[in-house]
Every structure is written in structure tokens, then in C-alpha cells.
């Protein structure tokens, strides 16, 4: 195997990368592989047969089995797939095995290059309690409140109640191994404590195989601000500024932007420095994210470090001009960062929205259905990261995120206008999505004013959100039904033969009242 020219002389040369993931992030990495002259290998489960990520990679390996533990979480099968295809490096993406130190160790143990931080850094930061201790030692400010690991759900009720009383309400129950909003529950009143604890513990056990949950004070009216860091294996470390990810529903991010609309230059520098210190404290290697809560008075506290590439990494790429996946690969190969902190500046403003198959007018419940039409917006400064295309379906098998729509513009106002236009232009039909809601966020005065706190959705839509009702759309639907305007002939064969199959020779037909 021969790697590309630029890899020559690298301590750990890479020629072919297997991505132990699926969906948009797998596609994202495969595209960088193609541009870098590296081979790429996909793994896929039955539900992903024929998926975009399988198709985007140079080669693909099928992993049989119905459960994630047979497929995307199956370390043995993934290593076998790497051996079979001659892949010499593994990129974990985000989610799945990306933050499992046992996987990092297994990859290295198999003689492959692991594109991620060391097992030690993953463990230290993955356990929220040891992470807090490490941050206190490194002088990084942490959230006030009491730490209480709960290990056995049945014996812990009394202790939980006592700890909750000491920490005070409202509080947050968090799975120690959690993330992405799963295994995390807000408790505003003591009477809901046990019920929410049971739910958090169960979600954590299902999603992470570890039911440990702990109690933390909930800081309301705060902002979620995270700093991207990048370190190489030679001791160089930089930060790539912050992302503001405050707009969330069910503790999952919906809108992210970079830079933050509120951070001043001094706080930005302090946070950046704290993030670099946090990374250095665990000898971090590669791309990582240090999350902070910024309170109203301008103080910031360490929340956690994500030892992987983040979903929202594209906005950092837009404003910094750095391709994070490329740098991850270079760092894993043992190459030095090609820039220092003083080379980095913020260029313009970027926003990302996550398009979910869900119903924002009904508590954001996940929705399923075919992507009967999927026509993304185009134009300057628009990027779409997705793992689906027209004809695919939103199913219950995986996370309901369909795509990440990203815009980049010279300043925040024009970025917001660009994103609103992009949301409106997106023709995504056949499954309920949050596009209309995202568009309304972009049009909301509070968003324009930068009032993006973590309770943004609850504050601005206290009664919930409902879609705009149109008086024209029913006529459009009626005319479509009348003329049989559906592409699939089967869908217009209704009983009684109403509607005629579309006639391709009919070039123009007008209907006047």
C-alpha cells in the first residue's frame, strides 16, 4: 500500500481509512479521503444497504445482524472488515464507538492507526466526574454543585433524595456516560425526582450500556458555548474559536453558530486558553471540543469535553478555513499542525441548522416517512452535509437527523438572512421535518438580537409551535389530485379511476376559474 505524496515521511503513514460509522459523518470523511488521495472503506448494516454512505466509499463491507451490537458497535467485526480490505486507519465519526476507549485500544492493538485521541484522554474526559477533577487541577472553572455517582438504581433512592436536596432544584440528572441529550433529565420539583431518575438511568443503560447517573445543579438562562481545539502529537495545541449551540430541544442542539453573538474578545481569549489547557491536561491528540456554560454575568464553567469530531464542526471549518477532518488525519499520521494560534482568525459568520425528521408542532416527536422529494437549496455560502438522498426514507432504525444545513456569510445578519432563504428553498416532502420551525427561528427577533439562551424555544414558543396555515395550498393539492401530478402511477390509481396518469406529451395545460 502506498499513501499519497503528502504522507511521505509521516511517522504513521495512512493509505486507506475505514469509517466505523454511517450517515452524513461517514460521507463527510469519505469525501475528504477522496480529496486527499486516500482509499476509503464503509461498513453497513442491512438497514443501510444501498445507502449514500455505502455508495460514497471506495469499498464497503456488510455487517450482518439486527442489533447495533452486531454492526456499528461490533468492534471485532469492524477490525475484521479493516483487515479484509487492507484499511490501515480507522475514523470513528461521532456517536457509536467514537468515545469508547476500548475501541481505541483495540484499533491500536490490531496495528492500525486510530484517528482520535488516546484511550487515556477518552476515559479521563468520558467520565464526567474524573473530567471535573482533572479540570479543577488544570485550573479550568467547573459548574457549582455536588457530584454524586449513583451506581445501583434500587439502593440509591434515599441517597438520591438527600443529594438532590443538597444540590437544590432545579437540577439535572445526567448519565455519567451520556451525551447528545440521552440519559439526561431536568427535574424542577422533588416529586418528579424518582420518575425522572428511573427514565434517565434506563435511557443511559440502553444507549450506553452504563446506568450510572449523577446530580448537578441546572443553570438556567445560560448559554452553551464550546471551543474547538486541535492538538498534534508533537505538543502543539491551538483553539479554533467558539461555537454557540444554545438553541436546543430536549437537550439536543438544533441551531449552532460561530462565532457566538455575545462573546467579547477578552472572554473569547480566556475561553480559548482554558480549552487548550483542558486539552493539554489529558495529553489530547487531534480534534476535540471543550464545552462551557456561559452565565448571564459573563462567567463560564467547564461542562464537558467531547473527545471526537462534533456534529456541528462545519461552522468552525467555515469561519476558520481549516478542514478539521483533514487535520485529524494528518495528526493521526504523526504530522505537525501546519499553523499556529497567531495564524488563525475568524472570517465571517456561519450558522448550522439540524434538519430532523420530527414534528415540531407535536413535542418534536420523531417522524418517519419517505423522502419523496429532497431538493436542497443552492447558492453561494451554502453547504449541506447529509447521508440521505431523494428516494431514501426516514426510518426508526437510527437518529432522526436527516441533514445539516450550513451557511457562511460576511456577518451575522447576512448569515441569518441566507439561512432563512435556504430553509425556505429546501423542498423536502414526504416526511414531517422541522424545516418550517427552523425558518421561523431565523425570522424571530430574539434570534436576530442574539438572545440565544438554552431555554430559547420554551421562552419564545411557550404554547408550542404550529406551522403556518395556507389558503392556497389546498387548491394546489386539489389541482395536483385533479391532474394526477404524482410521479408514481400507483399512487393515483384510486378506486373509481379518479385522476389520470400523467401524460408526458401534454406540454402545457392551463386551468382558469
Amino acid at each position: 500500500m502506498v499513501g499519497p505524496d503528502w504522507m511521505e515521511g509521516a511517522p504513521r503513514p495512512i493509505s486507506k481509512i475505514l469509517v466505523a460509522n454511517r450517515g452524513e459523518i461517514a460521507c463527510r470523511v469519505f469525501r475528504s479521503c477522496a480529496e486527499l488521495g486516500l482509499g476509503s472503506v464503509a461498513i453497513y448494516s442491512e438497514a443501510d444497504r444501498g445507502s449514500l454512505h455505502q455508495q460514497t466509499a471506495d469499498e464497503s463491507v456488510f455487517l450482518p445482524g439486527d442489533n447495533l451490537s452486531d454492526t456499528y458497535l461490533n468492534i471485532e467485526a469492524i477490525l475484521a472488515a479493516a483487515e479484509e480490505t487492507g484499511a490501515d486507519a480507522i475514523h470513528p465519526g461521532y456517536g457509536f464507538l467514537s468515545e469508547r476507549s476500548s475501541f481505541a485500544n483495540a484499533v491500536k492493538g490490531a496495528g492500525l492507526v486510530w484517528i482520535g485521541p488516546s484511550a487515556h484522554a477518552i476515559d479521563e474526559m468520558g467520565d464526567k466526574i474524573s473530567a471535573r477533577r482533572a479540570m479543577v487541577t488544570a485550573g479550568v472553572p467547573v459548574i457549582p454543585g455536588e457530584e454524586l455517582p449513583l451506581e445501583n438504581p434500587d439502593d440509591m433512592v434515599d441517597e438520591l433524595v438527600r443529594a438532590a436536596t443538597r444540590v437544590g432544584y432545579p437540577l439535572l440528572l445526567k448519565a455519567s456516560a451520556g451525551g447528545g441529550g440521552k440519559g439526561m433529565r431536568m427535574v424542577h420539583e422533588p416529586r418528579n425526582l424518582q420518575r425522572e431518575y428511573a427514565a434517565a438511568s434506563r435511557e443511559a443503560a440502553t444507549s450506553f450500556g452504563d446506568g450510572t447517573v449523577y446530580v448537578e445543579r441546572l443553570l438556567e438562562k445560560s448559554r452553551h458555548i464550546e471551543v474547538q481545539v486541535l492538538t498534534d502529537t508533537l505538543g502543539n495545541a491551538v483553539h479554533l474559536f467558539e461555537r454557540e449551540c444554545s438553541i436546543q430541544r430536549r437537550h439536543q442542539k438544533v441551531v449552532e453558530e460561530a462565532p457566538s453573538p455575545v462573546l467579547d474578545a477578552i472572554t473569547r481569549e480566556q475561553m480559548g486558553e482554558a480549552a487548550v489547557n483542558a486539552a493539554k491536561a489529558v495529553d489530547y491528540e487531534g480534534a476535540g471540543t471543550v464545552e462551557f456554560l456561559l452565565s448571564e454575568d459573563g462567567e463560564f464553567h467547564f461542562l464537558e469535553m467531547n473527545t471526537r469530531l462534533q456534529v456541528e464542526h462545519p461552522i468552525t471549518e467555515c469561519i476558520s478555513g481549516v478542514d478539521l477532518v483533514v487535520e485529524q488525519i494528518r495528526v493521526a499520521a504523526g504530522l505537525p499542525l501546519p499553523f499556529t494560534q497567531s495564524d488563525l482568525t475568524i472570517r465571517g459568520h456561519a450558522i448550522e441548522v439540524r434538519i430532523y425528521a420530527e414534528d415540531p408542532s407535536n413535542n418534536f416527536l420523531p417522524a418517519i416517512g419517505p423522502l419523496a422529494m429532497f431538493r436542497p437549496p443552492t447558492g453561494p455560502g451554502i453547504r449541506l452535509d447529509t447521508g440521505v438522498r431523494e428516494g431514501d426514507a426516514a426510518s426508526i432504525d437510527f437518529d432522526p437527523m436527516l441533514a445539516k444545513l450550513v451557511v457562511h456569510a460576511p456577518d451575522r445578519d447576512s448569515a441569518i438572512r441566507r439561512m432563512k432563504r435556504a430553509c425556505e428553498d429546501f423542498v423536502l416532502l414526504g416526511v414531517t421535518t422541522n424545516l418550517g420551525f427552523l425558518s421561523d427561528i431565523m425570522g424571530h427577533p430574539a434570534y436576530h438580537a442574539g438572545e440565544t439562551t438554552t431555554d430559547f424555544i420554551d421562552v419564545n414558543w411557550p404554547e408550542g409551535w404550529s406551522p403556518e396555515i395556507s389558503d392556497v395550498a389546498p387548491f394546489v393539492a386539489a389541482a395536483s389530485e385533479h391532474y394526477g401530478l404524482s410521479r408514481k402511477a400507483t399512487t393515483i390509481e384510486t378506486e373509481g379511476g379518479r385522476g389520470s396518469p400523467f401524460n408526458p406529451f401534454l406540454s402545457l395545460r392551463r386551468s382558469f376559474p
Binding site: 440521552k182 427514565a199 434506563r202 435511557e203 440502553t206 444507549s207 408542532s361 407535536n362 416527536l365 420523531p366 417522524a367 418517519i368 419523496a372 422529494m373 431538493r375 426508526i396 437518529d399 432522526p400 430553509c423 425556505e424 428553498d425 423542498v427 423536502l428 416532502l429 414526504g430 421535518t433 418550517g436 404550529s466 406551522p467 403556518e468 396555515i469 395556507s470 389558503d471 392556497v472 395550498a473 389546498p474 387548491f475 394546489v476 393539492a477 386539489a478 389541482a479 395536483s480 389530485e481 385533479h482 391532474y483 401530478l485 404524482s486 410521479r487 408514481k488 393515483i492 400523467f502 408526458p504 406529451f505 401534454l506 406540454s507 402545457l508 392551463r510 386551468s511 382558469f512 376559474p513
Partner: protein, 155 residues
């Protein structure tokens, strides 16, 4: 005539080529001008481009930057509405059943906890009354729209 229901529950009766239509039995004007070209899934209305696609009995319409869903409604007005039962909002698994047949329950009370897409969802009573029937057991897999519980109301 095409009968449709929009997402706010309004019932429309529209005949293309006539000048009037009804919305919730009220007569309104139908003054729209439609143009269709040789491409499927496209339609011009009053000079605006709309994208349309039909999935089962629903027409999905993208026009003026918004997406709308209109359901073909052959039942006529009053054909749908609350049935007094509660249905699964999505496919998933029953985790917990928090009531028994014969229980008195109140609107908003959590009756069932479901899991779907690795998240838990609470199914709350949509009215006050007595639990008449529970259609599933813990651990059962249910489809979207499956009736879970029947409540006899006290209206």
C-alpha cells in the same frame, strides 16, 4: 370534486375548473390560475412555482417557502376527530403501563411510557374518564397510529 383536510383540521371541497369552493362548508372564491408543464411534481399557481408529491393519501406541497400537508378526505366534514382512544405517535416499544382497566384517569395523566428512537415518550390521557381497555402489554412493539388505550369519557 376533491375533498381535503389541512393540518389545522379544516375541511376543503374544491372542484378544479369552477369558480367557487368550500372551506368548512363556507363558500369561498376559487380564483387561482394553474399551469402545469411536462414535468411531474411541479405546478404553477398564480405565477408561483409549487412542488407537489403524493404519499399514500397525503399531498405534500411546497410553495412560498413553506411546506404543507393536505390529506385526501373522502369522509366529508366531521369524519375524523377525537375517538376517545389514544394512539402511538410513532412506532416503538411499550416500556411501562401506568394504569389498569377500570381506573379513573384525568386529562394529562401519564398512562404509558414508550421508547422509540432510543428516547422515552410519555403518552398522556387525552380526556378524563375510566380506562375501558388496554390493547398492549409491556415489551410489545407497536406501529405508528396503533390504538393503545380506550377511555370511556365522562364529558
Amino acid at each position: 370534486m376533491v375533498e381535503l383536510r389541512d393540518s389545522s383540521g379544516r375541511h376543503w371541497q374544491i372542484t378544479i375548473g369552477t369558480s367557487e369552493a368550500t372551506c368548512d362548508d363556507e363558500t369561498i372564491a376559487n380564483e387561482h390560475i394553474f399551469e402545469i408543464d411536462a414535468r411531474p411534481n411541479r405546478l404553477w399557481v398564480d405565477g408561483q412555482l409549487a412542488h407537489v408529491v403524493k404519499v399514500k393519501d397525503d399531498w405534500w406541497v411546497h410553495i412560498n417557502g413553506c411546506i404543507h400537508v393536505l390529506s385526501i378526505d373522502e369522509q366529508g366534514a366531521g369524519g375524523s376527530g377525537d375517538e376517545g382512544g389514544m394512539t402511538a405517535p410513532m412506532p416503538g416499544k411499550i416500556l411501562e403501563i401506568l394504569c389498569n382497566v377500570g381506573d379513573q384517569v384525568e386529562t394529562g395523566q401519564t398512562l404509558i411510557v414508550m421508547e422509540a428512537m432510543k428516547m422515552e415518550h410519555r403518552i398522556a390521557a387525552n380526556g378524563s374518564g375510566t380506562i375501558a381497555e388496554i390493547h398492549y402489554d409491556i415489551g410489545d412493539q407497536v406501529d405508528s397510529g396503533a390504538a393503545l388505550i380506550d377511555i370511556t369519557g365522562e364529558e
